[in-house]
């Protein structure tokens, strides 16, 4: 509190007034964001729904390919296995914009998959996110199965399991870690920006997801919608981590 007649340096006054303006602005933004969520704003709802749908299908496709590939890699020995594992690890660490660019080339008109017309569509985004998440699921599955008890395979064999039954029993035994792998992949997909931006194009009402919308709104200096979507994204992250926590808790039982 500055009293009348008190000598106060000018820069201090400027700083205090600027800080209060920032706080006010943030409070306003939060208020408007909550109102958008509370009133189920159609634009927010559409963006959230598209994000969840795209992430869901990307996760399903990634799990469908990543789980069997990871299981086979963990169980079978073949020449060049270490090279395949190295490549998978590299893909896992690749920047998303590089994956986005690669997929863009594939899906663009002149690309090999250009005739499918997937560029700047939700399906195109699913494709790119599938490319992103499959190595994650495969790698985590390799790790999950690699850490299983060495007696498991012998037990499957001595019980008379066919190769397909062995495959299923192994995945079932690693189910907690495998579920964690899928949940982690979903988390990675739903929070991804580069691929969604490059392959979706951030088209309003068509390919605008939570992350691309947040990036756009922030660049425009309009934080309300961005913050509202940020809350939803955080809620999704909380839900995912909660699921992971429950899975790990059950695993430790």
């Amino acid at each position: 509190m500055i009293r009348t007649g008190e000598v106060v340096p000018l820069f201090f006054i400027c700083k205090v007034s600027q800080r209060s303006r920032t706080v006010q602005f943030l409070l306003d933004s939060f208020h408007k964001a909550f109102l958008l969520l509370l009133h189920l704003d159609p634009q927010v709802f559409q963006i959230v729904w598209l994000s969840i749908t795209v992430s869901f299908w990307s996760t399903i496709f990634s799990a469908s390919v990543g789980l069997p590939v990871g299981t086979l890699l963990a169980l079978r020995n073949f020449r060049g296995k270490s090279v395949v594992l190295l490549l998978l690890n590299t893909t896992m660490a690749a920047p998303t914009v590089v994956i986005g660019l690669f997929c863009y080339v594939l899906l663009s008109r002149i690309g090999p998959l250009g005739s499918l017309g997937l560029l700047f569509t939700p399906s195109g985004m699913v494709f790119g996110l599938f490319i992103l998440a499959t190595p994650i699921v495969a790698n985590l599955t390799v790790a999950a199965i690699g850490s299983l008890d060495k007696r498991l395979m012998l037990t499957c064999e001595l019980l008379g399991a066919s190769p397909a039954q062995q495959f299923w029993l192994v995945i079932k035994e690693a189910r907690f870690a495998v579920m964690a792998a899928v949940v982690i992949a979903f988390g990675r997909i739903v929070s991804e920006l580069g691929i969604a931006m490059m392959l979706g194009g951030n088209i309003r009402g068509f390919t605008r997801t939570m992350t691309t919308a947040i990036a756009l709104e922030t660049s425009k200096g309009e934080f309300e919608l961005g913050l509202a979507l940020g809350f939803v994204l955080m809620a999704v992250a909380l839900l995912i981590n909660g699921l992971l926590f429950l899975v790990q808790k059950e695993r430790s039982l």
Partner: protein
């Protein structure tokens, strides 16, 4: 009667280390056979071979009169039930664990659960159906795995150290289960054990395995040493054996305890392989008197139970002769 297994000239190696080498072995149908031998002798490898988990690199293996083909291993494995030494239980309930082998064989969920409950009753594990493996003790887990093997109702049962982790009462019960399987259901049973008494309680047909080979006796008197003087002398460092009339090849010498002639007086003059020692223990085995004597090395001698042992006592001197046919090089 067709033999359950017929083995001819098989060899099996792990990473170029010979693990098993058997010239000839027939396991008659409906017999109970014990594989006895020290750790690393090759008992488990032989059991895995009989369970079709490994295939011999050389030689032939026949099962129920048919030569084993590598293309039909899954079906062959379904005809035998193997209980491993340290069984693995799946991360599911005890009941599901017992039912798992049945489900793999195409039994319905209902049938397999019903059979699993019966199996658990056999091993006295009723009431444990909904428990998870991590809440079981070592002995309880072993009994669950035993139930999982028994419910398969295979033609052949293979048990790797079935008395492992079990208390005395459970060992007795396991013995009874094995006997019942053989007597009532005419199953062929092969099991491994270190415990010769356990083996003798169940069967008279004991196969001794040492260094991957079938040896004529248990390696009670096993000596390690070097062959010298152009293959005539085996020197353990403490004593020397004349091996000029001995069969076999190898760096270890086995002496059959039932083929050692002994006396409490100085005898066997001018005979090869005569040793003087002192009795350190006397005990009664199933149908023999077991004498342990120290003569540079520790010898185990098996005497017939009809032997008059009035002159024997701990600390007394004993002279014994190891006959050439008692010695095997492995």
């Amino acid at each position: 009667m067709i033999a359950s297994y017929s083995i001819r000239d098989i060899t099996f190696s792990y990473l170029n280390q010979p693990a098993l080498s058997i010239n000839s072995l027939d396991i008659p149908a409906s017999s109970v056979i014990a594989l006895v031998g020290p750790n690393g002798a090759g008992k488990t490898t032989l059991l895995h071979l009989l369970a079709f988990l490994i295939t011999p690199q050389k030689g032939s293996l026949s099962f129920l009169g048919t030569k084993v083909s590598t293309s039909d291993l899954v079906n062959l494995r379904r005809k035998v039930g193997l209980l491993p030494q340290n069984p693995y239980l799946f991360k599911c309930s005890v009941l599901e664990n017992v039912a798992i082998g049945l489900k793999l064989r195409g039994f319905s969920r209902r049938e397999s659960r019903k059979m699993a409950i019966e199996g658990l009753k056999k091993v006295r594990m009723e009431g444990y159906e909904s428990r998870w493996p991590n809440s079981l003790s070592g002995g309880e887990a072993q009994r669950v795995a035993l139930a999982r093997t028994l419910v398969l109702n295979s033609e052949v049962f293979l048990f790797d150290e079935p008395a492992n982790h079990l208390d005395l009462e459970s060992v007795k019960r396991t013995e009874q289960l094995i006997l019942d399987l053989n007597r009532n259901e005419k199953k062929t049973i092969v099991f491994t054990t270190h415990n010769l008494t356990f083996a003798q309680n169940l069967t008279d047909f004991v196969i001794h395995i040492f260094q991957g080979q079938i040896v004529p006796t248990a390696p009670y008197n096993l000596f390690r040493g070097q062959i010298q003087y152009g293959g005539k002398i085996f020197d353990t460092g403490a004593i020397q054996f004349n091996i000029s009339k001995t069969t076999g090849q190898g760096t270890c010498l086995l002496v059959d305890p039932s083929k050692i002639y002994f006396s409490t007086k100085e005898e066997f003059v001018n005979l090869p392989n005569v040793f003087q020692g002192r009795i350190v223990s006397l005990s009664l085995l199933k149908n023999v008197v077991r004498i342990e004597a120290l003569a540079g090395e520790k010898f185990e001698i098996h005497a017939p139970i009809s032997l008059d042992i009035s002159g024997f006592g701990i600390g007394k001197d004993v002279w014994f002769q190891v006959s050439p046919e008692a010695i095997t090089l492995v």
